[in-house]
């Protein structure tokens, strides 16, 4: 059958019949070699190609492209959300910093006041302490002096009594000793 049709394709085109459809069919078959089995074969070829391209190229690549578009879209949405969050965080951070600054300033001021107060207290305490030390030192010095004076007086009285006994050549009584000492001390004190 195929050979017959092919043979027809290579033969001369029949004379026009006046029927458009028949003449067109004759032209297609006899002049241009239209052949039903080959036409069907080419249809099948093309359908197979379309099927393969759809299954192995456009399908997977289309899915991949759609997935990538979705990812980019989701990424952009996330980026926008991140930008919003970042702006909010920056705002919150700025407010927190401002609050912290104010608190820090207040604390510093408070600390400065407290330090000044403490310093003053400590200074006063030191002054008082120094004063006490000085008073004690003065008291001690005074006591030492008085003790020394007393000892000096006793020694001087003894010395005078001894000198008087030696010069007078007599043994002095306790009353003599007391009188001599008292007179000697009066002289010294004057």
């Amino acid at each position: 059958m195929i050979l017959d049709i092919l043979a027809a394709a290579t033969s001369e085109i029949p004379a026009p019949t006046g029927n458009i459809a028949t003449d067109l069919g004759n032209t297609l078959v006899y002049k241009f070699g239209f052949n039903t089995p080959f036409f069907v074969a080419q249809c099948i070829n093309f359908i197979i190609i379309v099927f393969v391209l759809k299954k192995f190229a456009f399908g997977p690549l289309g899915t991949m492209l759609a997935e990538r578009r979705e990812r980019i879209k989701a990424g952009e949405e996330k980026l926008k959300q991140i930008e919003i969050d970042l702006a909010e965080t920056e705002k919150r951070t700025a407010a927190a910093l401002e609050e912290a600054n104010a608190k820090a300033k207040a604390m510093i001021s408070e600390a400065q006041d407290s330090a000044a107060k403490l310093g003053e207290e400590k200074t006063q305490e030191a002054i008082a302490s120094a004063q006490r030390i000085l008073t004690k030192a003065e008291e001690a010095a005074k006591a030492d002096r008085e003790q020394m004076v007393a000892e000096l007086k006793a020694d001087f009285g003894k010395l005078v009594a001894t000198a008087t006994a030696t010069v007078a050549g007599k043994v002095l009584t306790d009353a003599d000793h007391a009188t001599i000492n008292a007179e000697a001390l009066n002289v010294i004190e004057k």
Binding site: I2, L6, A9, T10, L28, K31, F32, G33, F34, N35, F38, F39, A41, Q42, C43, N45, F46, I47, I48, I49, V50, V52, L53, K54, K55, F56, A57, F58, G59, P60, L61, G62, M64, L65, E67, R68, R71
Partner: protein, 282 residues
């Protein structure tokens, strides 16, 4: 400027000379594809299979190691697919392109690859009786065979009909063709109904002719290109044969692309026209 002028003159000269060379009984490509002796298929069918092989290789390579971050061949395949998708989306719109992209892009790639494969050395030049007035080349451009272009035209028209009815429903489909647009009252409405019915009949004739128009537009352009190349080859004897058709090869590369684009564009526009309800909303 001088170069452009030279090119124009060369093409005009070649076009004028082509029929003369062919008529002299030189190397003339027959109008129809022929069966290779001893085999049950034609020389153009071999080219169709080669094109199918190239496209299947493309499809398998593209989806072999598919990943979210594209590398190597996937980049090229994605560029092809995305460019086609964006192009078809501008014609068909978001809804239709999702449904029909696979078909229109397959048509485009198939016609493009078939047209360009036909330009490879050896196609149409090796075969039986090549020096006679009735040569039989082993390979013939896939779209230089009316059976192939008719298959494309008929399948495109059938898919058009299927999607047109699917989108509009049978009633909507018929209304889209025959129903009067723009309204009107009284006698004007009757006139409009008659006018649009006649327009609808013309539209049906136009729809009926479309497969034939698509078939012969593609066949004519590709066959004419191959014929021109064959004739130009025959212009000069010996090893200088390569020179005359050289510039035409560049043009044929462009023609191959344009014809693939035109076929895809027309079928997509036809579908968009029948599925477009924009006029009903305004």
């Amino acid at each position: 400027m001088r170069f452009a002028s030279f090119i124009t003159k060369f093409f005009l000269f070649a076009l004028l000379l082509t029929p003369a060379v062919a008529a002299e009984g030189g190397h003339k490509l027959p109008l129809y594809a022929e069966k290779i002796p001893g085999l049950i298929f034609t020389n153009s069918m071999i080219m169709t299979w080669l094109a199918a092989g190239v496209l299947i290789f493309f499809a398998l390579s593209a989806s072999k190691k598919i990943s979210v971050v594209p590398e190597g061949f996937q980049n090229f395949a994605e560029w092809v697919v995305e460019s086609l998708y964006d192009f078809l989306e501008t014609i068909l719109g978001d809804h239709l392109v999702k449904k029909t992209f696979w078909f229109f892009s397959s048509i485009f790639l198939f016609i493009l690859v078939t047209n360009w494969l036909a330009l490879f050395p050896g196609v149409g030049t090796f075969g039986f009786n090549m020096d006679s007035s009735h040569p039989l080349p082993f390979l013939r451009g896939g779209n230089a065979d009316v059976n192939m272009t008719a298959a494309l035209g008929v399948i495109s028209s059938l898919t058009w009909l299927f999607w047109a009815i699917q989108e509009n429903g049978i009633k909507g489909f018929l209304a889209h063709i025959f129903a009067p647009k723009g309204g009107g009252k009284g006698a004007m409405a009757v006139v409009m109904i008659i006018v649009f019915f006649v327009v609808g009949v013309l539209e049906v004739v136009s729809i009926g002719i479309r497969p034939l128009a698509l078939t012969f537009r593609l066949f004519g352009n590709i066959y004419a290109g191959e014929q021109a190349l064959e004739a130009l080859l025959a212009m000069v004897p010996g090893f200088l044969k390569f020179a005359p058709p050289l510039l035409f090869y560049f043009m044929e590369i462009l023609v191959g692309f344009i014809q693939a684009l035109v076929f895809t564009l027309l079928t997509a526009v036809f579908l968009n026209l029948i599925c477009d309800h924009g006029d009903e909303h305004h």
